[in-house]
């Protein structure tokens, strides 16, 4: 499914965070959104899935206006992986993942064997098989993050949005997660902190600065020492990996 956002503006607490952002992503793509803290990456993702209503601009899903869709309908097309907290409560891992089936369930409809199979498959995909009955709160931060990803996978949406999905993950699972995202036959948009992950895995990058898109394009086009200096104020060297991806080396103290 193709997602297109045009001229998105959004405000939080009376302050405008996004000043007219355009973005598009197509099926099979892994689009990265990079940019410093407070540049509007998370806000943009929230506008795309309408957790936050944009003050102006439109999001189209295969040409259909997202704002006209019902919440349930929207939840069958887009899933968001973001920060999570259960407060003082707890669920089992399987219960957490099964909640991803909610938008597909009718009033009073229980979880069927098919839903459990989907949830278990999602847990296998994130490498958490066998932990179904474990308490979610007793998991490590990284394992919790992967449960939330499994929930989004179980939601079986053509579009998947992720807000810093590699937070809390060790390097092994960072790479596994990016491999998984790249291999999905879905439209994937991820806000990323790590420029190397973005450079190695993403098909396209959007660079956010001060609530606007500073640059866009393929990683080797976008990730240049000049842009990194402009956007992050950091000196860096960039090498191609010979396959369209790039490595970024930071040069601290300059």
């Amino acid at each position: 499914m193709k997602i297109e956002a045009s001229a998105i503006r959004a405000a939080l607490g009376g302050r405008e965070i996004l000043h007219g952002v355009d973005l598009e992503a197509d099926r099979g793509e892994l689009v990265g959104i990079i940019g410093p803290n407070g540049s509007g990456k998370s806000t943009l993702l929230r506008c795309l899935c309408r957790v936050l209503g944009p003050t102006a601009g439109t999001v189209y899903l295969d040409g259909e206006e997202a704002g006209r869709l019902k919440r349930r309908e929207l939840a069958r097309r887009m899933a968001l992986v973001a920060q999570h907290s259960l407060g003082g409560f707890d669920f089992s891992v399987l219960e957490m993942v099964l909640m991803g089936r909610s938008p597909h369930k009718g009033f009073l409809e229980g979880d069927r064997e098919g839903d459990r199979a989907i949830a278990r498959a999602a847990l296998v995909a994130v490498g958490l098989e066998g932990l179904e009955e474990r308490s979610f709160q007793a998991l490590s931060g990284g394992e919790q993050q992967r449960v939330i990803l499994a929930r989004a996978l179980a939601q079986q949406t053509p579009i998947l949005l992720l807000d810093e999905p590699t937070n809390h993950l060790d390097i092994q699972y960072q790479l596994k997660l990016m491999d998984l995202l790249r291999g999905l036959d879905r439209t994937v948009i991820a806000a990323l902190h790590d420029l190397n992950l973005a450079g190695m895995y993403c098909t396209r990058l959007y660079v956010m600065k001060d609530g606007a898109v500073a640059d866009r394009g393929r990683p080797e086009e976008v990730l240049t020492p000049k842009l990194i200096r402009q956007v992050y104020g950091v000196e860096a060297r960039v090498e191609g990996d010979g396959a369209g991806g790039v490595y970024v080396r930071y040069c601290p103290g300059k």
């Binding site: 309408r50 999570h84 003082g88 409560f89 991803g100």
Partner: protein
């Protein structure tokens, strides 16, 4: 980690069946207990004939008929009180479970929106100033009911009406403080110690005033609310995830919260009207069940509705039998019995509340 894990799927069904059977059995068992020694034969004779009369219009033989001591003790004193205890306990536990999800806070109880302090203010106005005496014989209870309802509605309005859980808790706390201050002021101004004691008794709860049509209304409210919230289990589960996650899963929580709160306010108001403020049931029973069976509301809602009923029924029986010739306010006993059980389970679990 919950106490029953892999067997959870089956275990909770057995528990539901067990509690479903335990409730009527508790009613039939407890009705034989009391200061008047009556044989089970006498007790069940009265019940069977009353039911036969109610359902099939059969005549009641004279030895069981209304007016005989046996009949009046069983049918007019013991049974209505037991039914009310079950309905109030079940209703409060149910509302506690719902309220904890609605405000996403394990410390919430059915009175978190100020229903208890609103009720005491209503009762204080009625007892000390005679306000509402035009409402009839049970005007104190009615004023308490109104107090509970008005306080809950005010909290909804003060919180901005959008169903934001933190704002709800804070508005509830603020309004509770105002209501408590107002009733304390009234008590302070009035010289009558007797009246102050009456208000105090209202805030400690008692099931002594149970009568038939009234407890039937409570039982009906309990049953309907339990069925409604059972049907809402999925949304209640999503409430524990928070607004944003629920939204991405297709459910907008704000309006649902307001609907749930209105329904719980009605059930709690009705419970206050019939039995005053009975603390701890609505906090502890859902927690104990959550510790054993997990947070899934598909299990928690029916188990709380039944478990709370059984708990308060036996708590009330204890209240009447611990001190010979005297009754302890049931709220005191629920706290005395409930708190240690709760602490024991929490210590055994050794982790955050609620799992």
């Amino acid at each position: 980690m919950r106490l029953l894990r892999s067997k959870g799927q089956m275990a909770w069904r057995w528990a539901l069946l067990g509690l479903g059977l335990a409730l009527p059995l508790s009613l039939l068992g407890a009705v034989c207990l009391g200061t008047n020694p009556l044989s089970p034969g006498q007790v069940y004779g009265v019940i069977v004939h009353e039911l036969g009369c109610l359902l099939f219009r059969l005549p009641i033989p004279p030895q069981w008929a209304p007016g005989t001591a046996v009949h009046d003790v069983v049918w007019l004193i013991r049974l209505p009180r037991l039914v009310l205890a079950a309905a109030v306990g079940g209703g409060l536990s149910l509302c506690g479970a719902v309220m904890q999800a609605v405000v996403k806070n394990p410390l919430a109880d059915p009175y978190v929106l100020g229903a208890s302090s609103g009720a005491s203010l209503g009762a204080a106005l009625a007892i000390l100033l005679g306000i509402g005496s035009g409402l009839g014989g049970s005007f104190v209870g009615l004023m308490a009911f109104l107090g509970a309802l008005v306080a809950s509605l005010l909290v909804l309005i003060l919180s901005g009406g959008r169903g934001d859980s933190l704002r709800l808790i804070l508005s509830g706390a603020a309004l509770s403080a105002v209501c408590s201050a107002a009733s304390n002021f009234l008590i302070y101004l009035s010289d009558a110690d007797h009246a102050a004691a009456q208000v105090l008794r209202w805030t400690m709860g008692s099931l002594g005033a149970a009568t038939w049509p009234g407890n039937g209304a409570m039982a009906l409210a309990w049953a309907l609310a339990a069925l409604f919230f059972w049907s809402q289990s999925r949304s209640l589960n999503l409430m524990l995830l928070g607004d944003e996650s629920a939204l991405t899963l297709g459910v907008e929580l704000g309006r649902l919260r307001l609907v749930y709160l209105l329904i719980t306010a009605l059930v709690v108001g009705l419970a206050v009207y019939q039995a005053g403020v009975i603390g701890f049931v609505g906090l502890v029973v859902p927690h104990v069940l959550r510790l054993i069976f997990g947070s899934d509301h598909r299990r928690l809602i029916p188990l709380s509705a039944l478990g709370g009923g059984i708990f308060l029924l036996w708590a009330d029986v204890l209240c009447r039998s611990v001190l010979p010739g005297r009754e302890i306010p049931v709220g005191i006993l629920t706290a005395l019995v409930g708190a240690p059980v709760f602490l024991y389970l929490m210590a055994r679990k050794g982790r955050a509340l609620g799992g």
